[in-house]
Symmetry: C2
Subunit: 148 residues, 2 copies
DNA sequence: TCGGGATAGTCAATGTGATTGACCATATGG
DNA sequence: CCATATGGTCAATCACATTGACTATCCCGA
């Protein structure tokens, strides 16, 4: 694979990501969530997955803890997240999704699945699985930056 | 492919894009370009490809023409782009890369190729081509949004 | 056990980039 | 030619993230 093709592949990945992000945004809007940006979704995913603090979240999003704190404040204000005391550390506050927050997460997952379903239509059946497998091998676990 | 796997695939695409963006950023910094963000790169790609005006660029980046104008102003200031009169329309100004701008584009392509080269190491040789082919089929041409 | 340094979190001020709104110059179509 | 649409910029504002400062709590060693 020469440089030209390699650059091309990199651009295809970026374009695919743009489609995913835009598609999720549209799907969320269609489901009645029009006040949430991708950064919120990434935060939801992290908060849902494990006991999460503001500092954890900041690292995961690749931002400062102040920015993460502001983000969380907005989510709390809108009723998607609650802050609970950490029984192990009186400084820390554990973040937890409310029922509304979990409903929102499910909506985002459905929207993401819709985007991929669109790909399924233009790709041979087995290929989507192959795509998945390849990306899984290629990609290293790490943060999902909400902004370029 | 069920919803779970579909969501998972979508996330893999986003993570891959994050790697591409971060990788290019690091590669550019290593090559001495530390004042350029991804949005600039997307602008370069567009300006290099065809006769481009500020409004064209705005559509391509998915922003307003004012934002595109500001972006271009910064690039002009730093010597990467020049504005030339459009012989066909006295209102318009065609954007063109300077030699510095083209050198910068080459550096970005090399950095992108480096990222993909890393993938090449963990993937069977033929697979990278297959990945390319799949994404090409899946992806529709469209804007490359610099921000989520 | 107590004192110093590290860590969790917030508040306030600042800065950067994008958007909205207004405006001028030029094109274009009736 | 006049009305309207389009390319572009300037200015004001807004949204978001960052830097800096500060409090409260934890942890570790003397």
């Amino acid at each position: 694979m020469d440089d030209r093709a390699a650059t091309d592949l990199a651009m295809l990945v970026l374009r695919a990501a743009t489609e995913v992000v835009d598609g999720i945004g549209e799907g969320m809007a269609a489901r009645g969530y029009d006040d949430l940006r991708p950064a919120h979704g990434f935060a939801f995913a992290r908060i849902a997955a494990a006991d999460t603090t503001v500092v954890d979240l900041a690292e995961h999003l690749g931002t400062t803890k102040q920015a993460a704190s502001q983000l969380v404040a907005g989510l709390v204000e809108r009723g998607y997240v609650v802050r609970e005391p950490d029984p192990r550390d009186a400084r820390a506050r554990l973040l937890r999704l409310t029922e509304a927050g979990e409903a929102c997460t499910r909506a985002a997952e459905a929207a993401a699945a819709d985007v991929v379903a669109g790909w399924n239509e233009v790709l041979p059946r087995a290929s989507l699985g192959a795509l998945h497998a390849m990306l899984r091998r290629v990609v290293t676990p790490g943060p999902l930056r909400p902004a370029w």
